[in-house]
């Protein structure tokens, strides 16, 4: 046991309880900063927040050792790693849990932690992290940060026995590597952020270092409430809440029509304005207004008006209240499976999307996705509940893939394969292959055929989304302010704006209509179904070569998910 001095207390060894204190400090320091980590998203979209994912992973790990009075370092680390693995969520959370697993393997027989043991733990942690990460390993991520920090530890352990000093070098190098991540990964550079997972890891080890130094773990920043409310559709909207009741569509024919000027005038009348033209002689107008007469008389002053359609959406809405998705029974599986059947476990947010996966034969849904990445344990528990021995997991989000893989490895008594769907449209495309195979007596038991076909189905669709920007951004040549609506197609920022209908329409405009046939719009929990369907009709008339399907998805945060095929 070493004496603590006021500035830089030395620690030549730590016992299990001291290590426990360090881990708690790492978690606490991350907790102080996880919102900063969350904001390091490459895309300004609400998605699997790295900070919260890593924090939840740490909390799950901590819960395993919180009550332990063991002083054996190996025992403490073993349980900590187990908790981390079970609770790991999001790709960074999974890699973090693997770092701890590496630590636990290296320290298994260690009563106490000294410099040599720490160096070995770092080395093994790095190895486990790289093994778990998608191949080929991407540099400029948490992997680079932990590897470089570990390399420095290997060097300085030659002539340094003090854990405080070694940890200081670890953190120093981690920060150094972190700052260089944008140089290694162009997407980070364009977004103007450092790697979020690397940042989260650095905070954890900084917290551990602060503990060794006896420094405060209270951050100098203001803490704010962090709970993200899950939006639900309002039960019945009043006319005032509903807003512009009239959906007006018309065709204007005239000479030298100034489309930009007409668009500005129409936008000023209401919302969901879409003004499109084919040259200067025909302009198609769509807008939601209180007074349907306004756009019609405005247009009739500019030329000849035709094909006028006026619909009262609020009346339709009232007719539909009670018959909407909320009145339906909760989603449930539609197929009965035998142990020989190949089954599907899908991860999806929103009751509407869950219903689609169930209808196409999913055995079990785990709720989650973009913003709420499920943990390894949740996915593992769902695997256990499925009667089949052969299970395919559809993660439907790139940030869920590693947790799914980890859960699959845990489920040793079953054959589990991951079909790495990165988004909902890919997942539904793969699900349809499964549905077809399941109808076929020759295929329904054939894991290899089903997995191959589902994988091949992933690339049949393009994926798009309309959401609200969580921060200001300038990428892919598009500038968006925080709070503005943005449209992305295949992870490329395509459009930003303030009107949902126009942004959605412009996003669809980025699709090569010669190449594709069908656009499916899955509308989110905060979008009214009548308005969504009205938009679908407008899009159908705007983009004649594509057909549109509007389906309730019920997902949070994403006003529309688009599937293009």
């Amino acid at each position: 046991m070493t004496e603590q001095t006021t500035t830089q207390p030395q620690h030549l060894t730590l016992d299990g309880q001291q290590l426990k204190g360090l881990l708690l400090a790492g978690m606490a320091w991350l907790e102080q900063h996880y919102q900063i980590v969350n904001q390091l998203n490459v895309f300004p979209v609400p998605d699997g927040d790295t900070g919260i994912n890593m924090l939840l992973t740490m909390q799950s790990a901590w819960a395993e050792i919180a009550e332990l009075e063991d002083t054996h370092v190996g025992q403490i680390m073993r349980k900590f790693a187990r908790g981390a693995v079970n609770g790991s969520r999001g790709n960074s959370g999974v890699i973090l849990s693997q770092i701890w697993r590496g630590f636990s393997v290296a320290l298994r027989e260690r009563e106490i932690l000294d410099a040599q043991a720490f160096a070995e733990a770092c080395q093994t942690g790095v190895k486990f992290a790289y093994d778990a990460a998608p191949k080929p390993a991407r540099e400029g991520t948490i992997l680079t940060v932990v590897r470089e920090a570990s390399e420095v530890v290997q060097e300085c352990v030659e002539n340094e026995r003090d854990l405080t000093a070694i940890m200081a070098r670890f953190v120093e190098q981690a920060n150094d590597a972190l700052i260089r991540t944008p140089d290694m990964l162009p997407v980070l550079k364009e977004a103007g952020v450092v790697d979020s997972g690397g940042q989260g890891l650095t905070y954890i080890f900084e917290g551990m270092l602060r503990r060794l130094r006896g420094e405060s773990l209270e951050a100098e920043m203001e803490k704010s409430a962090s709970v993200v409310p899950v939006r639900k559709p309002a039960p019945v909207m009043s006319a005032a809440e509903f807003g512009h009741p009239y959906d007006v569509q018309l065709l204007l024919r005239g000479q030298e029509l100034d489309v930009a000027k007409i668009r500005a005038a129409i936008e000023a009348m209401g919302d969901s304005a879409i003004v499109t033209s084919d040259g200067e002689s025909t302009v198609k107008i769509h807008v939601h207004v209180y007074d349907p007469g306004r756009p019609i008389s405005y247009a009739s002053r500019l030329g000849v008006v035709g094909d006028v359609v006026v619909e009262n959406m609020y009346e339709q809405y009232l007719e539909n209240v009670g018959a909407g998705p909320l009145a339906e029974p909760p989603p449930a599986p539609a197929v009965e499976l035998t142990p020989e059947d190949v089954a599907v476990l899908a991860i999806a947010p929103g009751d509407g999307l869950a219903r689609i996966f169930y209808e196409q034969g999913a055995a079990r849904l785990v709720s989650g996705g973009q913003t709420m990445n499920p943990s390894t344990e949740e996915i593992f528990a769902a695997l256990q509940e499925i009667p089949s021995e052969k299970i395919v997991i559809l993660p439907n989000n790139s940030n869920v893939i590693l947790a799914a893989q980890q859960a699959a490895r845990k489920a040793r008594d079953k054959t589990v394969a991951i079909v790495p769907s990165k988004n909902i449209p890919q997942g539904i495309s793969a699900m349809l292959f499964y549905a077809n195979a399941h109808m076929n007596e020759d295929q329904r038991h054939d894991m290899d055929t089903i997995v191959r076909g589902m994988r091949e189905s992933l690339d049949l669709v393009l994926s798009g989304e309309v959401t609200t920007a969580v921060r200001s951004v300038h990428m892919d040549g598009v500038r968006a302010k925080a709070g503005q609506l943005i449209g992305l197609l295949e992870d490329r920022l395509v459009v930003a704006g303030d009107d949902l209908a126009q942004v959605t329409s412009d996003l669809v405009g980025a699709v090569d209509a010669d190449e594709y046939e069908l656009v499916t719009l899955y509308y989110g929990a905060d979008v009214d179904g009548i308005k969504a369907r009205a938009l679908g009709e407008v899009l159908e008339s705007t983009y004649g070569d594509l057909s549109f399907e509007v389906i309730y998805g019920g997902q949070p945060h994403y006003h529309f998910l688009l599937s293009v095929e």
Partner: protein, 285 residues
């Protein structure tokens, strides 16, 4: 001794193209198409198939089909019986239609003891290929037993597939039973079906018609080498021609008839569907 003269008579569900029927002297007894209160013979004169598929999407009630009136059937059959020693009668499957029975009654009246009545077990060109093969063999001087053998040998090599543009008509006609497996309350589906022995089997739920067409093409490629091929459609000639041309590698387009599917099947398939009928080469070839 000269070979006996054998003539082939069938019904319009077989979809044999008019020029082929004329060339091989095949008599096609028209079925009856009922649209609302109106009835038309499916003879390409009272109502053309183009017109049928143009009107189909606009009809509130689905058209139905029934067997040709006995009198008309008998008249057509008697004309042929006068020229031939023997009649080969190939009909729509008996479990689907009254045509088989009508043919039986008519043949007993006009050519007792001089006919062979065959339930094709197939519809559209699946049946048409049997009719054509029988007529070709008859023209080449084959006797009844030889013709029967040819048909029996061909029967298991016939495949008929379809890609539907909509399930709307199946819902309307209440034939959603078999379609249940393939339908979706939530997603738009372009079903791929197989027609065997007059029964429809769902093959796949597909989201886009383009991809469903691609699957039809793939099915033909998978079954090659082919002995015969026809492309079927319900008022979608451009799509059918494109499909035929895309199959040039497995079968010459010039020998691939593009046919309007008969109303009996088309009423369920709905407009703008596509299909293929084919006969695979026998192992001996």
């Amino acid at each position: 001794m000269t070979a006996p003269v054998i003539k082939v008579i069938t019904d319009s569900v077989c979809d044999v193209p008019v020029d082929v029927a004329a060339r091989l002297d095949i008599t096609v007894v028209p079925a009856v198409v009922n649209i609302g209160q109106e009835s038309y013979l499916d003879d390409g004169i009272q109502i053309t198939r183009e017109e049928f598929y143009r009107r189909l999407p606009t009809l509130r009630e689905l058209p139905t089909t029934s067997a040709c009136p006995l009198g008309v059937t008998q008249e057509l059959m008697a004309a042929k019986a006068a020229e031939a020693d023997h009649l080969i009668l190939i009909t729509t499957p008996a479990h689907l239609s009254g045509i088989y029975n009508t043919f039986h009654v008519a043949a007993e009246a006009v050519a007792p003891g001089r006919y062979t009545l065959i339930d094709s077990g197939q519809i559209t060109m699946g049946m048409g290929f049997l009719v054509i093969a029988a007529a070709e063999a008859a023209a080449a001087g084959a006797d009844v037993a030889a013709i029967r053998a040819i048909l029996d040998q061909m029967q298991p090599r016939i495949h008929v597939f379809g890609a539907l543009n909509t399930l709307e008509n199946l819902r309307k006609s209440g034939r959603i039973g078999w379609a249940m497996a393939i339908t979706s309350q939530l997603l738009q589906i372009k079903p791929l079906i197989e027609v065997t022995q007059g029964k429809v089997t769902p093959l796949a739920r597909i989201r886009t018609f383009k991809r469903a067409t691609e699957r039809l093409r793939q099915l033909a490629l998978d079954l090659a080498p082919l002995e015969r091929l026809a492309v079927l459609h319900t008022g979608n000639p451009e799509g059918a021609e494109a499909l035929r041309d895309s199959l040039a590698a497995v079968f010459p387009p010039a020998q691939t008839p593009v046919v309007h599917v008969n109303p009996a099947l088309g009423t369920h398939v709905a407009a703008r569907g596509l299909g293929i009928a084919l006969v695979t080469q026998s192992q001996a070839n």
